[in-house]
């Protein structure tokens, strides 16, 4: 329904002034936010009250988790090398002393970079996949067929992806952090002659860092399937619509991750200062 409203408004955009355009954007944003919220609530409802389909969840876990391992390992490995190299250069300009490089790097990794950058990678890989798949189903009227059979597409399509993504985001982000840390350690050894024993230093990681990191994992694991599933379900039009839905899924999921990161990091800094 709201899609039709959205297209109608797009046609009217040419007749609106700047204030009208701003208002139309605000209304679009409000409708989008309300629908996103509705998808989220219905997903939670069916997670607890819906039917249990273990096969579907396992299949999605394989699709989301196992098939992303190679991609995540590559990108996070390179990211770990870059981060250590850049912070080594940065440290060199002030104090040419690398004993705390590994400890500080591990703290930042646990608190932010592993979860956030790993989740951004997952948003492109998993979010685009979910939106493309569900979007194709909408365009080829398979979702309408589900509704005809009195099966809510949220229960059938989103809930398995939601559960699978929550579990697999945890696993993948922990794996991503490990890969980034090891790659960083090897880079520090090769580029700045930091011994591996000095680099693998967990002194600075405390309960606060760990809980902020895990809270981020949970938040991103929830956000990725909900936002991209919503984008997939609101597909309209033919093949161009699927492309649009996939694009919107990647952009909106990435934005959601960055905004969640800001709020969780800010709250974490206020709760665990120092």
């Amino acid at each position: 329904m709201s899609n039709q409203v959205g297209t109608l408004e797009k046609q009217e955009h040419e007749e609106l002034g700047p204030v009208g355009l701003l208002g139309a954007a605000a209304i679009d944003l409000y409708i989008g936010g309300r629908e996103l919220y509705s998808v989220f609530v219905r997903t939670l409802f069916y997670t607890f009250r819906g039917r249990r389909d273990k096969g579907a969840v396992l299949h999605q876990m394989y699709e989301i988790g196992n098939r992303s391992v190679f991609f995540i390992s590559t990108t996070m490995g390179f990211l770990g090398m870059i981060l250590v190299y850049q912070s080594g250069l940065q440290a060199k300009r002030v104090v040419p002393e690398f004993t705390m490089l590994g400890a500080t790097y591990l703290e930042l990794l646990v608190r932010d970079f592993a979860a956030s950058l790993g989740a951004l990678m997952l948003a492109t890989r998993v979010g685009a996949g979910i939106a493309a798949e569900i979007g194709s189903m909408v365009v080829t009227e398979q979702v309408d067929a589900l509704r005809m059979c009195a099966a809510d597409p949220i229960d059938f399509l989103i809930v398995p992806r939601f559960l699978a993504s929550m579990v697999m985001t945890f696993c993948l982000i922990i794996w991503a952090g490990t890969v980034a840390f090891v790659a960083g350690g090897l880079t520090a050894y090769a580029a700045f002659d930091v011994p591996l024993q000095t680099f693998f230093n967990m002194a600075l990681v405390d309960v606060g860092d760990l809980s902020i990191g895990l809270a981020k994992c949970l938040a991103y694991g929830v956000a990725i399937p909900i936002v991209s599933g919503y984008c997939g379900l609101s597909t309209f039009g033919g093949s161009e619509g699927v492309g649009w839905a996939t694009t919107r899924a990647v952009v909106n999921t990435s934005l959601a991750i960055i905004i969640l990161n800001f709020f969780i990091s800010g709250a974490g800094f206020l709760i665990f200062p120092g």
Partner: protein, 274 residues
């Protein structure tokens, strides 16, 4: 599959192993095919660009659609990114009481690494994916064949303008993002740590950061733009199979762009050094 038939007498275990090897080999072959295809496409595009056979009106239209329309996302991403960088630096600044170094600490990471990287990821989702969807739809609906029938070169009419538009969009957006991220960082520093924007600005310009750091980030953004534009056009042109095909092409674009951006980020950082 073919490997299984060569040694059927060994039983199930070697067959599974051979299939595993075949899947790895298949992955390498398809990666080689993608790389080769992208290189050939690059050569074709460059031959049109160097002979200035690029459709000017299409270039102008794409620049508007890609650059101007992406501004809101880039603004939001950059402001939040700057804020997150300060929150991450805040713990370390508090620990050592080095408030004057906040500007340098946040500025170094933002200008050299995070602003180009996150802008590239967002633009890849917004522009690269959208461009693939558009080209893919044209391929699926045989509009490209229609162009060829009319003796219009699709590369100089469609691909080369988009290629130039994506590269210049990313460059300009990175400039914007650099400035906005520092703005976001300065005001977050004031809100969270009580470091005034003047102190932040002084830390930024005290001599530890130079034009080289900005140029480093901007050079990276051009390299990222080249990869994204190539991946986006290549996967758009090689779309097949209706609406689901477009979804798959978009997915392949964002995944390849992200992986390419991270790998090249590492190589460029290392090549440029301090």
């Amino acid at each position: 599959m073919a490997a299984q038939t060569t040694n059927p007498s060994k039983g199930g275990e070697p067959g599974a192993f051979a299939a595993f090897l075949a899947s790895i080999g298949g992955g390498f072959l398809s990666a080689a095919q993608t790389t080769g295809g992208m290189t050939i496409l690059l050569a074709r595009i460059l031959s049109r660009v160097l002979r200035i056979k690029v459709d000017g009106r299409e270039l102008w239209k794409n620049l508007y659609k890609m650059a101007v329309k992406s501004l809101p996302i880039v603004v939001v991403t950059a402001l939040f990114t700057g804020a997150i960088m300060v929150i991450q630096a805040a713990t370390i600044v508090k620990r050592y009481g080095a408030e004057g170094l906040l500007g340098w600490g946040a500025g170094f990471g933002t200008l050299r690494e995070i602003a180009p990287l996150l802008t590239a990821l967002m633009i890849s989702g917004r522009v690269g994916a959208n461009n693939t969807a558009e080209l893919g739809t044209m391929v699926v609906t045989e509009q490209l064949d229609a162009l060829r029938v009319l003796a219009i070169d699709p590369i100089s009419f469609l691909i080369a303008p988009r290629f130039i538009a994506i590269v210049s969009t990313l460059f300009m957006m990175t400039l914007f993002a650099d400035a906005l991220a520092l703005l976001g960082a300065a005001y977050t520093g004031q809100a969270l740590l009580g470091v005034s924007p003047t102190t932040f600005y002084n830390g930024l310009t005290a001599g530890l950061l130079g034009f080289g750091d900005v140029a480093n980030g901007l050079l990276k953004s051009v390299v990222f733009g080249l990869v994204m534009a190539l991946a986006s056009c290549y996967f758009g042109l090689s779309t097949s199979g209706g609406a689901p095909g477009v979804g798959r092409a978009v997915n392949a674009t964002v995944v390849t762009s992200a992986a390419g951006v991270f790998v090249l980020d590492y190589l460029v950082s290392f090549a440029l050094g301090g």
